[in-house]
Amino acid sequence: MRTPAALVALIATAAAYALGCAAAQATTVTVRVRTAAGAPAADAVVVFEPLDRHAPVAPAHPEAVIDQIHKLFVPHVKVIRTGTAVWFPNSDRIRHQVYSFSPAKTFSLKLYAGAPKKAVVFDKPGLVVLGCNIHDSMIAFVLVVDTPYFAKAPASGDAQLALPAGRYRMRLWDESLSAPVPPRTVVVGDSPLDLPVTLELSATPDPAAAWP
């Protein structure tokens, strides 16, 4: 008897997800990321990895775009779910050669201008550092994660997420970190959570080391 009930519940949950009406069931979690000096840490990335077993969730955004404008990658920091295909259009009049030697994704786009022929699929989680072979100053960070729950802090430093109730492991990353921030277990209930976080930013940052 219990099986059908459980199954029903599961289906219900799945349905809720599928219908996108799970909002009613999601709890708002606000992570207030600050530097040690108390300043808002913009572009800091907050990632919640569910600790409870969940049904795999299909990528919500199977494609993403990182533009190249005025010899800058835009956006500078991009968080994507594993398997996302990222397009690297070149909005500059000059050509760029986008490459990565990061273990999570090693690739190189031959020197090009305008729209690339194909997108680059980031199929493994991890931090990918992008560069342009002919413009050393062009750097972008692509954080490939296995969870749909993540956010990039806005200028105010307060990242807001809508999380279903459950237990999560909260990870933090910022390009100015030189070491990983220890993960925290966060239990999300019905009531919104307000999590202040302080990042020890380094003068000699090692962004790769900060995301093992």
Binding site: F101, T106, G131, C132, N133, D136, I139, A203, T204, A208
Partner: protein, 773 residues
């Protein structure tokens, strides 16, 4: 030092000093210039050295950055393909000739290396090199690895974040230092300090070079300064090398200096010689002139000061010569008559006596009473008379006759004695030339002469001795009232070795060999002894007792009489004083000569004697012969007045023999007159004499003078004189001169007899006479 040497040495030293100063200044300036130049080179060298290191750094940086930016290299880094990386590094390094290439992780672990034995995985710790915070250009450093020094540059490998360092370096080894040295033209030495120990791993200079020795100027450029290790590059330049061009210049200067020094020495020597050579010639000329030779010309002809000096010397020489001739003339010629003077005559006579074997006859002609001619007729007339006589004598034209004027009124003649003539005959011929009176201004003036002759070598062998013989002959002639006399040895007692006689007389005075003899004077009216005349005898040690004739004439001739008079004065005064203190007032008379009277200090001498013996002046009487007044009556009267003022008694001796002027006598402050013995001796023979004596007594009394008669030898003479009114008598009739003891004895007896006589027959002028001694 000779003038020549002195001039030469002075000039030489002067030039040497100037050259030494110039060389010193040049040397100092050279050294200063060289030092400045070296310092400038070092300044430039330091800049060049810094620039070269910077160029190195840039080159290394370019190469390192190039390899770090290479995409394939980045791939290899990402792939950790160590071998590929090492070869890529080596390849990149080889392009610029780097000696060390290393790839390290960001934290300095070696991942790949070339040109070094660093193993992957070891630490590559170069302080300051791999500092990610350092600005882009600063990734360079100096590394010391063992004994090697590297200049390193690091570049980051970005893919795109920094993932590794590429380090490239040049070794600062001998080659690179040599290149730098060539570039800077300086010596470069690296010094490395490990702890407290300095080593000098590499240098472009020889090993033995001592940089701090002062030979080098150095500039230290610190390349690395850390507590445990330091690296210093020392740029150096040898001062000697910098001085080398100056040294060449200095050698040239030394050569010039030496040449000019030698030149100046030669020039100085030549110049000095040019000055001193004529000076030496002048000195020789002066020596010659000093030696009395005035005829050679001064042989220096120049147109400078020395030439003027030579001309001056020449003029001086001729003036000296003419003056010398004048002096010679004065020395040998009588200025008035032009005849030879005494000197010339003596020389000529000596020459004649020495030269010829023929006997020479010499005559001395003394003019009688010539002084009176001068006095009464004036010097001009006197001179005219002398000239007349001179011309008369010049008429003696017999061959080899020499005529001279010896003194004012004395002439001399000599010539060879003819075979058949006698000296006296020739003297007579001479005397005949004076028979005629001399005529001056149409006035005849009688001139008589007394002539004495002597013959050489019979009478004497020298001119002076011959003249003396002739003069003795004159005296002999005068004594005999003759016009001429020839010398004979009888005239010569005093002429015997007169020089030794003079010595003996000196000794006589010194050893008290002279004796005082006393001859009494008595009053012809009262018969009393009124005084005594002091006479001299010489107790000669060999010749026995000598009378005054044996030595007084000689003493008068030689002037020694002054000493004898002084001695006599002293002794007589002493004796009179002795008697005076014994209560006997017996005036003593001493003889005084013309010489004494002529001495302006004689009266002082007398006063001194009186004072010395505390003698009453009236107890001393001075008897002056007439000749004492003849030479200079004025002076004689002055002296007699001075003597009279002392209070001593004065008397005229030998009155009647000389030529005393009666007018003078009237003015003379004398007390008595002694009539000469010749009159008294002739008194009984010749009535003429008696008349003279009588008138003399009368005249003397008129003038207030006492009259003394000496030479009374007979009774009758004494009586006659007393009858004539003569006041005092003296002579053998009463007593011969007696020595002191004898005289005193005689005196005492006489006084005793006097007492007895006075008692017996008072008032008689006659006295008992004594027998002649």
């Amino acid at each position: 030092m000779q003038l020549r040497t002195r001039i030469a040495v002075t000039l030489f030293l002067l030039v040497a000093a100037v050259l030494a100063a110039a060389l010193t200044v040049v040397s100092i300036a050279n050294r200063r210039n060289a030092t400045r130049e070296v310092n400038r080179r070092l300044d430039i060298g330091s800049l060049v050295f810094g620039q070269a290191l910077e160029e190195n750094r840039k080159q290394l940086a370019q190469a390192a950055q190039a390899v770090a930016a290479d995409y394939a290299f980045k791939e290899a880094v990402a792939a950790r393909d160590t071998d590929t990386l090492a070869s890529a590094l080596e390849n990149a390094g080889a392009r610029i000739g780097a000696s060390l290439e290393v790839l390290t992780s960001l934290d300095g672990q070696v991942e790949a290396a070339a040109g070094t034995n660093l193993r992957p995985g070891t630490a590559f710790a170069v302080p300051g090199l791999l500092d990610p915070r350092a600005p882009g250009r600063a990734h360079s450093a100096i590394m010391v690895s063992g004994a090697r020094v590297y200049q390193l540059v690091a570049a980051r490998v970005r893919s795109p974040l920094p993932v590794a360092w590429v380090v490239m370096g040049f070794a600062l080894d001998g080659n690179s230092l040599r290149n730098l040295a060539a570039l800077t033209d300086l010596g470069i030495t690296l010094s490395v300090r490990h702890g407290a120990t300095w080593v000098r791993p590499v240098s472009t200079l020889p090993r033995s070079t001592r940089l701090r020795s002062g030979e080098y100027v150095t500039r230290d450029i610190p390349l690395l300064t850390r507590p445990e290790v330091s690296v210093v590059a020392t740029l150096s330049r040898s001062l000697d090398a910098a001085l080398a061009p100056f040294e060449r210049l200095r050698r040239v200067l030394y050569a010039i200096a030496l040449t000019s020094l030698l030149g100046s020495a030669v020039a100085a020597f030549w110049l000095a010689g040019d000055i001193t050579r004529p000076l030496r010639r002048l000195t020789a000329a002066v020596a010659r002139i000093r030696g009395g030779s005035y005829d050679a010309p001064v042989d220096v002809h120049r147109h400078d000061e020395i030439g003027l000096l030579a001309e001056g010397l020449q003029v001086m020489q001729s003036e000296v010569l003419s003056r010398d001739l004048a002096i010679r003339r004065l020395a040998y010629e009588d200025p008035l008559t032009g005849l030879m003077n005494r000197t010339a005559f003596v020389e000529a006579l000596d020459r004649a006596v020495a030269a010829a074997g023929v006997p020479q006859i010499v005559a001395v002609v003394n003019l009688d009473r010539f002084r009176r001619i001068n006095e009464h007729l004036g010097f001009a007339t006197g001179d005219a008379v002398l000239l007349g006589i001179a011309s008369r004598l010049r008429e003696l034209t017999a061959p080899s006759t020499a005529v001279a004027r010896l003194a004012a009124d004395q002439f001399a003649v000599f010539r060879p004695l003819q075979v058949d003539e006698t000296p006296l005959a020739w003297a007579g011929t001479l005397a005949s030339r004076f028979a005629e009176p001399a005529i001056v201004d149409d006035q005849p003036i009688d001139v008589s002469a007394t002539i004495g002759v002597a013959v050489a070598p019979v009478d004497a062998a020298t001119a002076e001795a011959l003249l003396r013989c002739a003069e003795l002959s004159i005296e002999h002639a005068r004594r005999r009232k003759q016009a001429v006399a020839a010398y004979s040895t009888q005239l010569a007692p005093a002429a015997r070795d007169q020089l030794s006689l003079l010595g003996e007389l000196r000794r006589a005075i010194a050893l008290d060999e002279l004796r005082l003899y006393f001859q009494p004077k008595w009053s012809l009216t009262t018969g009393r002894i009124v005084g005594a005349e002091v006479l001299l005898r010489w107790q000669h040690p060999q010749r026995g007792l000598l009378g005054p004739g044996a030595f007084l004439p000689f003493a008068e001739q030689t002037g020694f009489i002054r000493r004898i008079t002084a001695w006599t004065l002293d002794r007589a005064a002493a004796q009179a004083a002795a008697w005076q203190s014994a209560g006997r007032s017996l005036p003593l008379a001493i003889n005084v000569t013309a010489d004494d009277i002529a001495d302006a200090r004689f009266h002082l001498q007398v006063a001194e004697a009186l004072e010395r013996h505390a003698l009453m002046p009236h107890l001393l009487s001075l008897e002056v012969t007439e000749s004492g007044f003849i030479d200079d009556p004025g002076r004689a009267i002055e002296m007699l007045s001075a003597l009279a003022a002392l209070g001593v008694k004065l008397s005229i001796d030998d009155f009647g023999t000389g030529y005393s002027s009666l007018s003078h006598l009237a003015h003379m402050p004398v007390d008595e007159v002694k009539i000469d013995r010749s009159f008294v001796l002739g008194l009984e023979r010749d009535e003429q004499f008696a008349a003279v004596i009588r008138s003399a007594i009368e005249m003397g009394h008129r003038l207030g003078l006492a009259i003394v008669a000496e030479g009374i030898e007979t009774d009758s003479a004494a009586e006659a004189l007393a009858a004539m009114g003569c006041d005092v008598g003296q002579g053998y009739w009463l007593s011969a001169p007696r020595p002191l003891a004898d005289f005193e004895h005689w005196l005492r007896e006489r006084e005793a007899a006097d007492e007895a006589n006075r008692a017996a027959a008072a008032g008689s002028g006659r006295m008992p006479r004594e027998s002649r001694a």
